[in-house]
Point group: C2
Amino acid sequence: MNNRKVKVGLIQMACSEDVEGNTAKLEKHIRSAAAKGAQIICTQELFRSPYFCKREDPALFDLAEPIPGPSTSRLQVLAKELNVVIVGSLFERRAAGLYHNTAVIIDAGGELLGIYRKMHIPDDPLYYEKYYFTPGDLGFKAWDTKYGRIGVLVCWDQWYPEGARLTAMQGADILFYPTAIGWHEHEKEEFGTAQYDAWQTIQRSHSIANGVYVCSVNRIGKEESVEFFGGSFVSDPFGRLLHKASHDQEEIIVQELDLSKVEETRQHWPFFRDRRVETSAPIASRFLV
Amino acid sequence: MNNRKVKVGLIQMACSEDVEGNTAKLEKHIRSAAAKGAQIICTQELFRSPYFCKREDPALFDLAEPIPGPSTSRLQVLAKELNVVIVGSLFERRAAGLYHNTAVIIDAGGELLGIYRKMHIPDDPLYYEKYYFTPGDLGFKAWDTKYGRIGVLVCWDQWYPEGARLTAMQGADILFYPTAIGWHEHEKEEFGTAQYDAWQTIQRSHSIANGVYVCSVNRIGKEESVEFFGGSFVSDPFGRLLHKASHDQEEIIVQELDLSKVEETRQHWPFFRDRRVETSAPIASRFLV
């Protein structure tokens, strides 16, 4: 097999209340990543603002915008100028009273290849996303970009093997997960290590089960009582960590991936060969007792 | 929630060519585990013999026996005497020319509650299982034992999130995985660490995705060019390691589990609440491109 090298860029950053400032910072970081050779660049989840789902406030719907719309256009211009693929996580206003947590997939020519609407929506103390986001209605998808076939999922999706499987089954070689997850200030000491470890482990398991690269991009920074734990990482098709970012620093991760390793790994660990697909239908049930 | 404590026992051992000797050793270890308070005891995969699938030899079918049959009966007598549940991995002769890799689930009264026939059958250099074992035709199951509701899967099954999911969806609080996996002598130095880590990670991910305990029982010992890597472990419903055995010593692991942690963990991490079951049907396809 020939080497098929691609460089990915993951932008891990903190966000302030200044939406324009956050976007300008992201653009600067994307330029830096591109300057270091990154070809497919992914933002963290909802990079334009603080993680606003920490409370339920109708005024915060004003942060949403149409897709395509101003932020999409800005990323398209940047993608074209830098000749890079950009995966950007945005708050989508689809219609009055109908909003989604949506990633845009922009090809290196600036074309909007498609969108992914977050399928699994959490609702936990300080993560009141079911108030803001209607669950995605486009399913799990993969796209052929200039630099490789990729899948995109968002944050809470990462806990679901089904999402990773259905995306890999469409031929994605890399799964990107824009994310916003952190520690509650009263839980960090007791549970912080286990929470980060579970979060990384379940995503590395998607690499292993499916023989794909996983790139997970998380925010950092203390926002009220939540400390977003960063730790963005890249894992290879056997789940090995290629890079793990810090928990508290802005980082522009540029990592080279060899996409030929997907096939090599799957030849040595041929899990797709042996799936018992004729027995999988009950997975579409809520529960079996 | 009330505490619901149960002690599990995992028997990690080496096997010789002496089938009676292996069985006698297992019995001794099961007695030791029961003496330490173990209530549900699980063997490694195919404990009666060396891992015979390292070559294709029709004479080796003679190792198989009917279920119920001599080994099943022997484990039933032991389970009744010690008042323990036993999960035992056997080579099943179902009919002339039809063999399975089967686990028996024996309740503490000695009753044969059911059997699980390994669903995913590997075939890799030195693991020529497709020659010996017909893939299971009983699907994924869970059983109410005297000490808790359990699921049983076998070795290669552990790489498949679908098997763990379908078992957990039947209400199993603990998944047991009898296993035989090791390092090839020419691969250990370069890949050994990554192979053990991937093996443990994918199974810990089943704990995380499903909020269940996982008990994985592997053999040790050098058998020709394969070094079985032991490292049997128990993970809790958030994927934390409660115990990890050595890679080269026989061990009788007795670990207390609190089954009420299953519900507590799922309340804090409510993944079952948000599954997009209406989008899961394509998992029953071989691939989607």
